[in-house]
């Protein structure tokens, strides 16, 4: 298979992991997480920095997931007490703060320059074998994540999540504390994003704070809205469309001479902004999925 397509599909699968996690948080439980990129970043940096210190990759991936999950705990606690819009702002602030810390703590994270020379996943295989191995590993990861999410949705836990999303006060009045469940969902979604980050780091072999801007969070939001919130298949389909768009914009640049990469970045930002507005106006069912809006 063409090396380019392998790379593109790898990116699709990385975003798919992000989308599956966010879909669970918002689509199933109603948590407005505007800081998803923070878990992505934490996973990427955790895995990269440990790998550079000689840790074996399976261990760094596990730590990436764990770090992201633990980081989700304070946000989870916040989610319990805060109304939806406050949670959105707080999670946004959290992701910007994480990015700031990554930028500033040069001693640990090498700051704005980023972290180069990250060991490539399956690098020992060399050449095309490495690329295919990464793709395969991602396929397995996404399949596992999707399976775990499916099991979750079809379990009593999943049923309760939907109940919380539909009417949280009633859940409390029936003797259950929504807090416990929200935190678990937050942590699981964050862990998935952390693993996505680890894959990202060991795929690109270079990470820097500016790759983890809020725009990425909203890329993922666009994916899940495109596919219809709450639907696992929708999240995967939406991710495909998203990456197609991102890659497609690159081709446009090749077709139209004189368009600098920086300008393309602005064009992409404009389209994402416009798309968010249009989706919200004209495809509200994408925002509320199967739930009655």
């Amino acid at each position: 298979m063409d090396a380019y397509l392998v790379a593109v599909f790898s990116v699709v699968l990385i975003y798919a992991l992000l989308a599956i996690g966010l879909n669970l948080q918002y689509g199933e439980t109603g948590l407005i997480n505007f800081g998803h990129v923070a878990f992505f970043a934490l996973g990427a940096y955790a895995s990269a920095l440990l790998a550079l210190r000689g840790w074996p990759l399976p261990a760094t991936f596990a730590v990436a997931a764990a770090v992201a999950a633990v980081a989700a705990v304070p946000l989870g606690l916040a989610a319990l007490r805060l109304r939806q819009d406050y949670l959105a702002i707080v999670t946004l602030g959290f992701s910007e703060t994480v990015r700031l810390v990554l930028q500033e703590e040069r001693a640990i994270t090498l700051g704005v320059q980023g972290v180069p020379g990250i060991p490539k996943l399956f690098g020992a295989l060399g050449g095309r074998a490495t690329d295919l191995a990464i793709l395969l590993a991602l396929l397995v990861a996404v399949a596992l994540a999707a399976w775990a999410t499916h099991l979750l949705k079809t379990s009593p836990f999943g049923r309760l999540l939907r109940a919380i999303r539909d009417n949280e006060t009633a859940v409390t009045a029936l003797g259950k504390d929504p807090a416990r469940y929200k935190i678990q969902v937050f942590m699981f979604g964050a862990a998935l994003a952390g693993i996505a980050g680890a894959f990202y780091a060991h795929f690109l072999t270079f990470i820097s704070p500016e790759q983890f801007v809020p725009l990425v969070t909203f890329y993922v939001w666009m994916s899940i809205i495109l596919g219809g919130v709450g639907s696992l298949r929708g999240a995967l389909a939406g991710t495909l469309l998203l990456v197609a768009f991102l890659e497609g914009s690159r081709f446009i640049r090749d077709l139209v001479p004189g368009v600098a990469e920086v300008q393309m970045a602005s064009v992409r930002l404009a389209i994402v902004g416009l798309a968010l507005i249009l989706f919200v106006l004209y495809r509200p069912q994408g925002l509320f999925g199967r739930q009655a809006s």
Partner: protein
């Protein structure tokens, strides 16, 4: 840290707080009436700054080239531009989302923020710009260094805030707006003409954002992330002060400004946003309705 050092930070914080107060006020009014946090406020500030700096650059060398006059005209242009954009956003987007869930308007406002920022960079590019103002030396009061520019900024902010408050308390439409902000059900109950009031609200939000952006641009530099970086402190100020309370927003903003500056010796100048976030987080955890907010609005 000497007393003069602390005083310097405090003064700088007050000036920053005064600037933050403008978008915070816009946020709190829109939040209490339209019931969602308008994430486009920051980038509207950026728009205002760019319009002003552009107009000023054009005017330099002409009859309006004198710094103060040029600034006045430039600011006026920014105010008009942002008011129009703000009201247009309401008409085209937020009014149609009126009955939809809050997350819809919130996402749309994020989209709008991205759209504004991207259009600015497409038209003008990513470079930084500064306002053409004469360089002035700081005044020194025995260790307390004060930049005349900062004083001017603070003064303008205070004048604008005072004018808005006067309008909210004594102007007919202003009092109506404040009443509705204080008690959103009131509008529906007493049949106050909603449409005109909403246009006023959004225009005011645009005006405040524009002036805030210009002042911020004068204080630092005009760049694409200018307003977005102030969004979190402005939100924090709004929540500190309690939603729907204009005075609370201003008080919150001043607190945030001073707090951020006083934290500099501890965490360095680059962590101001983190400080804003930390304050926001802690306040909300302890008092989910904000410091002066009403608990009924908390859930």
């Amino acid at each position: 840290m000497t007393l003069a050092g602390v005083a310097n930070l405090a003064v700088n914080g007050l000036v920053e707080g005064a600037v933050i107060a403008l978008p915070a006020l816009a946020l709190t009014l829109v939040m209490s009436i339209a019931r969602f946090p308008n994430a486009a406020t920051g980038d509207l500030m950026t728009l205002g700054a760019y319009v002003a700096v552009g107009v000023q650059a054009v005017l330099v060398g002409s009859a309006f080239g004198a710094p103060l006059l040029g600034m006045a005209v430039a600011t006026l242009a920014a105010v008009v531009a942002c008011a129009i954009v703000s009201v247009a956003a309401y008409e085209l987007i937020f009014r149609r989302l009126g009955r939809a869930a809050m997350v819809a308007s919130l996402l749309a406002s994020i989209g709008l923020a991205f759209l504004i920022r991207s259009l600015i960079t497409l038209v003008v590019g990513h470079e930084q710009h500064t306002f053409a103002l004469p360089l002035v030396r700081a005044w020194n009061f025995g260790g307390l260094r004060v930049l005349p520019t900062d004083l001017a900024i603070g003064a303008v902010a205070l004048v604008v805030l005072a004018a808005v408050f006067a309008w909210l308390h004594f102007g007919r439409s202003g009092r109506l707006l404040r009443a509705v902000a204080d008690n959103p059900d009131l509008a529906r109950l007493s049949g106050i003409r909603a449409q005109r009031l909403m246009w006023l609200l959004w225009a005011l939000a645009g005006v405040l954002s524009a002036i805030g952006g210009v002042l911020l641009g004068v204080k630092s530099v005009v760049m694409p992330e200018l307003g977005w970086e102030l969004l979190l402190p402005a939100f924090a100020a709004m929540i500190l002060g309690g939603i729907g309370s204009p005075a609370g927003a201003v008080a919150g903003a001043l607190l945030m400004g001073v707090g951020q500056e006083l934290s500099v010796p501890l965490v360095g100048p680059t962590y101001k946003i983190a400080v804003a976030f930390a304050v926001l987080f802690v306040v909300l955890l302890l008092r989910p309705a904000g410091l002066f907010g009403r608990p009924e609005l908390a859930r």
